[in-house]
Amino acid sequence: MHSAWLIPVLPLLGFLLNLLFGKRAGKAFVSAAGVGSVALAFVLSVVAFKVMLAAPGHRLEIGYGEWMGAGAFSVPLGFVIDPLSGLMMLVITGIGFLIHLYSVGYMGEDKGYGRYFAYLNLFVFFMLLLVMGSSLPLLFVGWEGVGLCSYLLIGFDYDLPDDVPAQAGLKAFLYNRVGDLGVLMGMLALFAAFGTLTIGDILVKAGHLGPQLGFGLLTFATLMFFVGCTGKSAQLPLYLWLPDAMAGPTPVSALIHAATMVTSGVYLIVRMAPLFQLTPLTMDVIAWVGAATALFAATIAIVQTDIKKVLAYSTVSQLGYMFLGLGSAGFAAGFFHVFTHAWFKALLFLGAGSVIHALHHEQDLLKMGGLWKKMPVTGWTMLIATACIIGFPGTSGFASKDEILYLASLKSPVLYWMGVAGACCTAFYMLRLFTLAFLGEPRDAHAHEHAHESPATMTVPLVVLAIGALGATAFGWPAAFGGSFRIEAFLEPSVSYGAAAAEGVVRHGGNPALMAAISTALALGFAWWGWSSYKGGLALAEARAAKWPFLHRLLANKYFVDEGVDAALVRPLRWFGNLLWKLFDVIVIDGIGVNLPAALTRVSGDFIALLQTGRVRNYVLTMGLGALLLLYVFLK
């Protein structure tokens, strides 16, 4: 499997081809290079996956020598393929391929076609590096690289007059960067602790340690890693960028901001799971932040009118569930939600994209309606996805979310109820979305008239994704309902790599069936409420908004967090920067420290020059005084 390097390099090649020749070569070339490279990568990933499964310990380590290093510090250039990364590779290249395919239709008319595929390919490359990298710095390469691609793709329509995409891209990059700092500091701490940054070595060394109490290097490192996750995976408080990121093309939202990149935080934690298990404090933080995010974002999603914004907040919320699962020591559960979420959220986005495409880039839910007839494929697939996300029994969402909620309930009932509340909100807004878009009367007749089903390159991926979304249950089905959580066993080699004794996850006690029943029942209730609230148009919703204006405004404005950040952080920083510059740099250092001495020198020169009166008597007098001075020195 030495040729595993081909897997990431193929998309890179696609990137280079499209970057260099994308403009001059035709669309066919771009599509071939862009889609083909990912398709090939997918095929190779499948091969690699199989080889991995056959390998002892389900683990392939491939090394290509040293990447960077100095002194005692050395980072190998190497890949690890194990169940965790293998599955991620499949998701990335698989869903990635579908979305590439979908983009051929969706972006067909765009003038930046070549550029688009270049970026997308580059993203796949970085994402693959992220999951395959055998060391933290290599993972970090992918980690930051996907951020870059996200930045580039969000700001893809850079020349729009209102600047929104560019601003959103900037915002995404910066919020991500805050998280990246966390990862960076985490790496520093780990190197200080273990003297290596190779993931395997760290885990092996960590495996010899018992659970760590107090605030040591390890806790610091894991907390910092989690900070990184909050940035990349849009958790509180760094989630703000993700809703704005919807300014990018819809397939990008599907691939990057729903299915793959945003889940890399989960990947990181699962990858370092043994380490996190050593630091209970961090685990608590993760769980609580996850639960809070799940609930918080879900409430905001209720009142959003932009179809993609709803989905974005939904993504944030779902990511919160994943972290809730991780924090509750359900690494496999959390990751399983990543897996299922990848399918149905990608599907939701692509479906939304299909709608948007049909309506000529109309994204306002309030102007949609009645599309069910016009766009059957989209409608059906969207319905499946909606069912998944609200955890309709039998769907993959049901399987993954309820496992998480169950595990959370073991950790703390409060977490569980937060999760349930979030699930209720989810059910409500998803049905709201679906009802507003597909059911009821068309609210914009003109747009409705021109609406049409999308071309095959777009619908085929929808169908495939829908199948995937439903079929993901094959990997895990709650034991309480007669299934087995196969993915847990499957991931075991990754999750407990290096751990001396597989301590496993506490998953005894409680009543999983009851827990699931409560949450599902409540969610379905809210789903019905959502449907009933909007099936007759907007009147009811408007009435409710009028009734609770404060609440509505609070939610519609996303709790004013953006404004708060602006007022509390951005503006003070700029103000402080200005102060440093104008007051400190220009006046204190340059003025008092540099120019003032210069001016004083000059002024004293002016003063001394006055002694040169031009009168020769005066000169002789000075000489006389000089003589006096000399005589004094000689005679004293």
Binding site: L610, G614, R615, V616, R617, G624
Partner: protein, 106 residues
């Protein structure tokens, strides 16, 4: 103090030094170039007085007189150049007041 007046070496040297100071004072206090010029002549003369007095007390050293000769030649030379300068200045500026020829300054 009394032996300063008795015609001893100290008296001569004292006279010489005082003469030197008076010459310098002339240069310092008088504005007229010619007066300052005379002050300088006094200063040179003061040196002569001291020189010959020392020569006398050094056993009538002939070197003293020889040096004296040189000095008066130098004084004459200075007089020549100095007076030429005063004349030149007077031609150019129409003044022999040192304080009025102060256009070069600072």
């Amino acid at each position: 103090m009394a032996h300063l007046l008795s015609g001893g070496l100290q008296g001569y040297v004292a006279v010489a030094l005082l003469l030197f100071v008076i010459g310098l004072a002339t240069v310092l206090l008088r504005r007229t170039l010619l007066m300052q010029f005379m002050g300088m002549e006094l200063m040179l003369n003061a040196a002569n007085v001291a020189l010959l007095a020392f020569a006398r007390w050094r056993g009538g050293d002939v070197q003293g007189t020889v040096t004296y000769l040189m000095i008066i030649a130098v004084a004459a030379c200075e007089a020549a150049v100095g007076l030429a300068l005063v004349i030149g200045l007077h031609r150019m500026r129409g003044t022999t007041d040192a304080d009025r020829t102060a256009s070069l300054k600072q």
